[in-house]
Amino acid sequence: MRSLCVEPFQNFSSQLPFVTVLRNSFVDTGARRTLTYCSPWKTNHKHEAVLFPPPSRPIRKSLCICLSSSAKLPMMEEKKKTFDANEAALLVKELNESFRSGKTKSYEWRVSQLKSIEKMVVEREKDICEALYKDLSKPEFEAFFSEIAMVKSSCKEALKELKHWMKPEKAKTSMETYPSSAEIVSEPLGAVLVISTWNYPFSLSVKPVIGAITAGNATVLKPSEIAPATSSLLSKLFEEYLDRSAVRVVEGDVPQTTALLEQKWDKIFYTGSPRVGRIIMTAAAKHLTPVVLELGGKCPAVIDSDVDLQVTARRIVAGKWQANNGQACISVDYIITTKDFAPKLIDALRKGIEECFGTDPMQSKDISRIVSSNHFSRLQSLMDEYKVYNKIVVGGQRNQKELKIAPTIFLDVPGDSQLMQEEIFGPLLPIITVENVKDSIDLINSKPKPLAAYLFTNNDKLRNYFVQSVSSGGMAINDTVLHLDFQMLQVTVSSLPFGGVGESGMGSYHGKFSFDAFSHKKAVLYRSFSGDSSVRYPPYTPEKQKLIKAVMNGGIFNIILALMGWSRD
């Protein structure tokens, strides 16, 4: 973490509230973020700042910022050595060397790294929470259960199960007489790249890295530049706690990512949008690199009219506004319910919101803000579209300065509105009504496959029908986001795979599935020169005789055919 001095750029100084210091903040040029600064008038005031690329003049160890409330100012930053394709190539070379040395493959190395991550999370919990607060105003509680606890439990599970996971899996040879033994050996892939995202900037970075380390790979993590404080913290912490020769962080945005993507990786793990997912996959095709893409999509929640209203409403509040204020790939995107039930549901949701965030959610400390002004304007334009602006039944307040939007519910927005066309990724929640709750399934199936689908019902028949006919990455019945955030609350420790299908992604991870995602399953077959001892001894069945004949003739295919019962002689 570099601390940057901020001083007014001379030409503009008259227009700028005097800004003296950015407290321990790392900022990238072009980034938008909230800064805590001191001014002659107020202290510790939070503000959005836009950081401009340094002007062409000589750069000093200083920068100028522009506060969104005042005039725009160019800004300078300490000249950073740019990370280009050459440097990326060097990095990959170095990591490949470490990998080839074999050290990352050893059980001991993997355990030591996992323990270090665990230690890092325990010792630096405060720093992590602070960074998350800077990037997203993420409430500490949310930070704890969706970021810190998740990473901790991943580490714990990996440490506990690693030996078991690494053990070669004995494969049954299909026939008892098959003269060989076989196993499936999990081997690491090599150097892997993890590109993570900003909404859960810590856990969505560290969890895949845990998977990569567990499987014995050398890993580069590229955290999201949209959550700069966490990105910089990750870079610092990895350096401090992990084996630098095999685990690295590269910070940056498009140019750095492009430089990384030009390299040959053995796997690329990406979390983010389908648009960038396509860029990643195109780059991967050049080197035939397998990819895991964790994307998003519009996750529906279907609510039947026979549910326990209070519990349902609370769980939806949890799965929407409590999940990073809707900025989560698995948060509820829209609700489908019956016409008659909608008013009751809205009342219950209104009550639920009030219970959790108070009468004025804009003042609540328990809700995250919108990550950046880009995303704020995107959400704003969704809200202001003429087709939907008058459909708001709950909420609607916003504060551009603080990047806050209150939990907002829309009723009966048209299907062709932007709100129902793109992934919302924010605190807006449209409710679509249907005549019959079964109609919701056709509606869901007419859209791209979502990452998650939720159903609230007491009707077993509907539940089974839903599970059978709706295709989605994951599914929760009578709860939301549970299989991501709250899986550890359940009695069972063995994790479910997490991942999308179709537009919502490919590949899955979490727990053993992370290990598998970063492993190659090598088929190993052992044969001895002596052929097949059991067959050579009596009693001689006709099958065995055929086999021996085949062995004597030296034809491997004949052996197989004899075993399959194909041989005719």
């Binding site: 389908p274 035939l288 965030f357 328990d366 007491n458 089974n464 399953k521 030296g554 295919f557």
Partner: protein, 468 residues
């Protein structure tokens, strides 16, 4: 281009059919697999060799009898439900036109998908047999065979698929994967690569004999080396090379006769283009001198004699490209352990065959090399073991299939969790306070004592508590 007329509307009809849920039905899957089995049985005469060599009947029967199908009815509180992906495309290659077409098709059907199969135009007889006869055994609303060359392939790749399964070269594999980006389609690429056989200096004459038999059968017997898992080249110690070569010379004659061209024991080269490719590999002046056996070519009959070369230059095309034909270079090393470094200096192969008795070297080979599969003391047979995944790594491919792995390849495993409305940790919901956080932490850590203490008010302060 016949099959492509109205392609878009045909495919839309197939998607519609998939959405109707028909293909998800267990009975439907079983009936289709039975149909496939019947196709294989009744057309055995036509498809004899490729099928017997390549497919056997095991995977079909395994699926038909064991019915590894989703059991949606048995919903417990958390489970994985395998569900079909939708409409899948299978592009197969010419070297084993039936096996490589049908094996993935079995997986696609067993998993409950609708599928389009595009067999290779380079094996036209097989392709037309598949296109004309296979549909009479299967539900044509769900399975279609489309014939054609690159133009048709390109047209197919523009469509939206839920999975693309491709067998062929790395070059085309890249094209497939790039095309798949458009619709974010997951792909399985079954490619090839130079699969080496490492032969240790074996002492016993029995071992030597068995090794040579197994190598020769899997090189010259596997479609004349035109198999993605055929042995591409051999690594052997200098001192053992001549023993190996002499034994091979004798055994080639024994197995394939004095004049293999006439005994019909070795397959011909698939087409003239590939024949010329092999010819140019062999006619390279730098390679010429290294031929120690065979080397004759018959362009009219597209026949290449089993050929052994010793130490061709490592930068010659024969040692940089996948050979895919009956040419067998032998590379000599000072020490058999050097084979590990040699293999690691090249792209990861689809298979490594190690004829080794030394246990320590076996362990090193296992842990220090990487390949799709690793077979000790034999070759090519791993293809028939359907309990093992078959597939490459790195340049040799992405994804795996065979047996249960085929089913998995064409399925999406949907995680389903189920809760009742009764139990809820009340401290799951804001507004937050330290009390709730303590409880949450205790719950995450399965610290029941801690939970109790918190509830009783005996434990208050969190360690490392941040306090924003």
């Amino acid at each position: 281009m016949e099959g492509v007329k109205g392609l878009e509307s045909d495919l839309e009809a197939m998607r519609q059919y998939f959405r109707s849920g028909k293909t998800k039905d267990t009975a439907w899957r079983q009936s289709q697999l039975k149909g496939l089995l019947l196709f294989i049985k009744e057309n055995e005469k036509h498809i004899f060799n490729a099928l017997k060599k390549d497919l056997g009947k095991h995977p079909v029967e395994a699926y038909r009898d064991e019915a590894k199908l989703p059991r949606v009815a048995l919903l417990s509180s958390a489970e994985l439900v395998p569900e079909p992906l939708g409409l899948v495309l299978i592009i197969s290659s010419w070297n084993f036109p039936f096996g490589i077409s049908l094996e993935p098709l079995i997986g696609a059907i067993a998993a409950g998908n609708t599928a389009v199969l595009k067999p290779s135009e380079l094996a036209p007889a097989s392709s037309s047999l598949l296109a004309n006869v296979l549909p009479t055994y299967l539900d044509n609303k769900a399975v279609k065979v489309i014939q054609g060359g690159p133009a048709v392939g390109e047209r197919l790749l523009q469509q939206k698929w839920d999975k693309i399964f491709f067998t062929g070269s790395a070059r085309v594999g890249r094209i497939i994967m790039s095309a798949a980006v458009n619709h974010l389609t997951p792909t399985v690429l079954e490619l090839g690569g130079k699969s080496p056989a490492v032969v240790d200096s074996l002492a016993s004459s029995w071992d030597k004999q068995v090794t040579v038999n197994r190598i020769l059968v899997s090189k010259f017997g596997a479609c004349a080396g035109q198999a993605c898992i055929a042995i591409d080249y051999i690594l052997v110690e200098k001192r053992f090379a001549s023993t190996l070569v002499e034994l091979m010379k004798v055994m080639i004659k024994k197995m394939f006769g004095e004049n293999p061209r006439e005994t019909n024991a070795i397959a011909r080269i698939v087409n003239q283009q590939h024949f010329l490719r092999l010819k140019s590999l062999l006619r390279d002046p730098a390679v010429q001198n290294s031929i120690v056996y065979g080397g004759s070519l018959d362009e009219k009959n597209l026949f290449v004699e089993p050929t052994i070369l010793v130490d061709p230059p490592l930068d010659a095309a024969i040692m940089t490209e996948e050979i895919f034909g009956p040419l067998l270079p032998i590379i000599t090393l000072d020490n058999v352990e050097d084979s590990i470094a040699f293999i690691n200096s090249k792209p990861k192969p689809l298979a490594i065959y190690a004829f080794i008795k030394n246990e320590k070297l076996k362990r090193r080979m296992l842990s220090e090399t990487s390949s799709g599969s690793l077979v000790f003391n034999d070759a090519v047979i791993q293809y028939a073991a359907d309990s093992l995944p078959f597939g490459g790594i790195g340049e040799s491919g992405v994804g795996k299939y065979h047996g249960k792995f085929s089913f998995d390849t064409f399925s999406h495993y949907k995680a389903v969790t189920r809760r009742s409305f009764l139990t809820d940790f009340w401290y799951r919901f804001p507004p937050w306070n330290d009390y709730k956080l303590l409880l949450l932490e205790a719950t995450y850590n399965f610290d029941y004592l801690g939970m109790l203490l918190v509830i009783l008010g005996l434990k208050r302060r969190r360690q490392n508590s941040g306090g924003m």
